[in-house]
């Protein structure tokens, strides 16, 4: 199990949650990366990062008006300051008693639960289970940049699956996406265009 903690839970709901972290924790999580939140023994929630945003605050806004900002001040802001970085995570499923479910988690994570980045093995384990049921959750929310999200996710998951010796996964995944999206011409073409850049 990887132990790269990326932050702690700020707020959550059935379909997803928001993780807060410091800017200096920000080199680990990336858009489209998979995360997990261990909640209790044998139960953890899986999700994918769909949004990372760095909130501004008064100081940052003030610094912007300055002519130039010394390097030490820059570093101070990035590394010391609790500039809230909010990471939006979409729930993709959960693991219970060693079994992966591509269903929304029965219970969302709680405030201040620690969120970890999934290791390659965990990504392969989660995404290789079943028949891509978790795509549902990504496709549900048309407000999110799902094309980009899918492309980023496929990129990560493909690498993980190849590591796990499953070269065919990627083709099957794209195939499944096409099946799910083929009634949405625009969306599908956008997604494939994004995917084609990975």
């Amino acid at each position: 199990m990887s132990e790269i903690e990326i932050g702690r839970l700020l707020r959550s709901g059935t379909t997803g949650f928001v993780v807060g972290c410091k800017v200096n924790q920000l080199n680990a999580p990336s858009f489209g990366a998979m995360v997990r939140v261990p909640l209790e023994a044998q139960y953890q929630v899986y999700g994918v990062i769909y949004d990372i945003h760095i909130e501004d605050d008064g100081l940052v806004r003030q610094l912007i008006t300055a002519q130039d900002v010394p390097e030490e001040v820059l570093k101070d802001n990035r590394e010391n300051r609790n500039v809230p970085v909010e990471i939006g995570v979409l729930a993709l499923g959960y693991e219970q008693g060693g079994r992966i479910f591509h269903l929304l988690p029965p219970r969302p994570p709680l405030s201040l639960d620690a969120i970890f980045l999934c290791s390659s093995g965990e990504v392969a384990h989660f995404t290789g289970e079943g028949r891509f049921g978790y795509f549902r959750h990504i496709l549900r929310d048309r407000d999110k940049p799902i094309e980009e999200l899918l492309a980023a996710h496929l990129y990560q998951a493909r690498a993980a699956q190849v590591d796990a010796g499953n070269e065919a996964w990627y083709q099957m995944a794209v195939g499944e996406l096409i099946t799910l999206m083929r009634d949405d011409y625009q969306g599908l073409i956008k997604t494939l265009s994004a995917v084609s850049e990975i």
Binding site: Q171, I178, Y185, L188, S193, S196
Partner: protein
């Protein structure tokens, strides 16, 4: 069918079935709609190029196998935009391929023809399987016409050698004779020779599509099988002697060379040679064998008048079987002086006879004029050297086959006259024997079935002639008197419909004329679908088999008629029958 079960058993079957089983058992699609009236619709799951119109497919649904033909293929898309946009220019090939795989598709139209009960799983219920298998072996379970439809999503696959054999029979078994191979997979397709000759059949196709070659194949098969006597009217000297293909310049072996003792080559007229070879014997026609109807049949050819029947009738009444001889020797316009010195018609003049017989003089003279062509025929003689006609009948009786070569007498008149006269004579003999046999006459044996092969059949069987020739009678009688026809023709539309509709088996190559296509399909179900298939046949060596004599229509790549064919037919041992193979592996 049972083949497929056996193959899964991993036993070493004949190479043929083993090599094709894998490919043919992969599904090519699944059923998405259709019905009994309309054809079945299937979604193709393999590249369209892997399937062609006319492909023989099998649909597995529950306990049933459905056999059918691909009659149409249509391009479709889940959204027209996927078809309109050339996404391959926007996406990497790999993605474009995946996208197209799911949004662009081909639908197959399948004309289901037969269905057959599948056996239970051999491993799950060996006993039930054994029972079922026994029934298949004893032909209690046979493919039957389609009476229901497969389920949605039932898998469609290309027929394997086993499927084809199940439907069309296994080569080397019983009367099954390989006539060619399926287009996809090249699995052997057989005809049941016994069934083929049980009713009259036809081989059609535009000139150069391979009719004569295919006829050679079939005739060779029939002769080899030796259950049926074959009489071939070889108008163009193609079947008896060795020949040279007009297009390729290759040597084409004749039947005589391959079956020297079985095939009698008969030349027309004394001293006839056929392609430089002396025939086994020659045929001369005795004047006394010519009946008025033989002449009437030539009405068109000789441009006879309406008065002809009356004249012929009078002749026959007067002279009986000598009418032809007598008439031939009458002299038109011959005069003699009577007692008063007046010029009157001579006693041997036509006029004299006409007066006496109360026949119109001019009609009689006109007929005589027109019959001059026959009177001049060298093969019509008063007293033939031997009774060649009888010899032919004897030959045919004795397990031999006859190729009657017309030699130099290649005119339609010769062909029509001779073939009809001989056919009439022979049929009379067969009818007589049949009646004797049926009525239980002492010593009467069952007549040997006879097939008469005629090229250019429309000349004998066109609408005008049909009522007069023996051929149409034979065609209509089916096998009542043990004689059937094998007609070979490039213009089926000119053959009398009633004859066409009687043809049991039709084997047709490409036809360009829609009337010809129409008439080949007379009286068959699913004509629309078949019409398209017919129109799309390759111009050579591809035929559509249909009709009563074949279990279901199928497009076949004709068996090649070449040295290899003969080698296989004559030298190779028969392929082992299923029964033998099964015995070997412990059933």
């Amino acid at each position: 069918m049972f083949n497929s079960h056996l193959e899964t058993n991993g036993n070493d079957m004949s190479e043929q079935t083993v090599s094709t089983s894998e490919e043919s058992h992969k599904p090519i699609g699944y059923i998405i709609g259709g019905g009994l009236k309309a054809n079945l619709q299937a979604r193709l799951t393999v590249p369209a190029q892997k399937v062609q119109e006319g492909a023989f497919v099998v649909v597995e649904s529950g306990n049933w196998l459905f056999y059918g033909l691909v009659t149409d293929m249509q391009l479709g898309s889940t959204d027209p935009r996927f078809a309109d946009e050339q996404t391959e220019t926007r996406l990497p090939p790999e993605l474009a391929k995946l996208l197209h795989g799911q949004t662009l598709f081909t639908n197959l139209e399948v004309m289901a023809a037969l269905m057959m009960e599948q056996g239970p799983d051999m491993n799950e219920d060996p006993e039930a399987y054994q029972t079922w298998f026994q029934k298949v072996m004893e032909e209690e379970i046979r493919p039957e016409p389609v009476k229901t439809v497969p389920q949605h999503h039932a898998e469609v696959r290309l027929a394997g050698a086993g499927d084809i054999a199940e439907i069309f029979g296994k080569e080397g078994e019983k009367a099954f004779f390989r006539i060619g191979d399926t287009i996809e997979g090249g699995h052997p397709v057989c005809v049941n020779l016994d069934k083929l000759v049980q009713r009259s059949s036809g081989i059609f196709g535009a000139t150069g599509t391979g009719k004569s070659f295919l006829t050679r194949v079939i005739l060779a098969g029939l002769i080899k099988r030796d259950k049926t006597a074959v009489l071939i009217f070889d108008m163009h000297n193609e079947y008896g002697p060795d020949d040279t293909a007009s297009d390729t310049g290759m040597r084409v072996p004749g039947l005589k060379g391959k079956f020297p003792s079985k095939v009698r080559m008969v030349g027309l007229g004394r001293g006839a040679t056929i392609r430089g070879k002396t025939p086994d014997y020659t045929l001369e026609i005795a004047e006394s064998d010519i009946m008025p109807e033989d002449i009437l049949m030539l009405s068109q050819e000789l441009n006879l008048r309406e008065t002809t029947p009356a004249t012929l009738n009078a002749l026959f009444n007067k002279f009986g079987r000598n009418w032809f001889h007598e008439f031939k020797n009458m002299r038109p316009h011959a005069v003699q002086e009577d007692d008063e010195g007046n010029k009157v018609p001579a006693d041997d003049s036509i006029e004299a006879w006409a007066n006496e017989a109360n026949v119109h003089q001019l009609a009689a003279i006109g007929l005589h004029n027109k019959l001059n062509r026959l009177f001049d025929c060298p093969y019509i003689v008063e007293n033939p050297a031997g009774d060649a006609l009888n010899q032919m009948i004897n030959n045919l009786d004795n397990g031999q086959h006859i190729v009657l070569s017309f030699g130099d007498h290649e005119e339609d008149l010769d062909y029509l006259f001779v073939s009809n006269l001989i056919t009439r004579r022979i049929r009379d003999v067969w009818e007589h024997r049949t009646n004797n046999f049926r009525s239980g006459h002492q010593g009467a044996t069952e007549p040997r079935p006879l097939v008469i092969a005629v090229e250019e059949a429309h000349k004998l069987l066109n609408r005008e002639m049909a009522s007069q020739t023996t051929f149409s009678t034979i065609a209509r009688e089916m096998r009542k008197y043990y004689v059937t026809l094998l007609i070979i023709d490039q213009r089926p539309s000119q053959i009398y419909d009633e004859v066409m509709s009687q043809l049991g088996t039709r084997i047709t190559g490409w036809l360009g004329d829609s009337d010809d296509i129409q008439s080949v399909l007379t009286g068959l179900a699913g004509r629309d679908a078949l019409r398209g298939m017919l129109a799309h046949l390759q111009p050579k060596e591809e035929v559509l088999m249909l009709g009563w004599g074949v279990p279901m229509p199928i497009v076949v790549h004709s068996r090649r008629y070449d040295d290899a064919f003969w080698e296989e037919l004559l030298e190779k041992k028969d392929r082992r029958s299923n029964r033998d193979i099964l015995k070997d592996i412990g059933f």
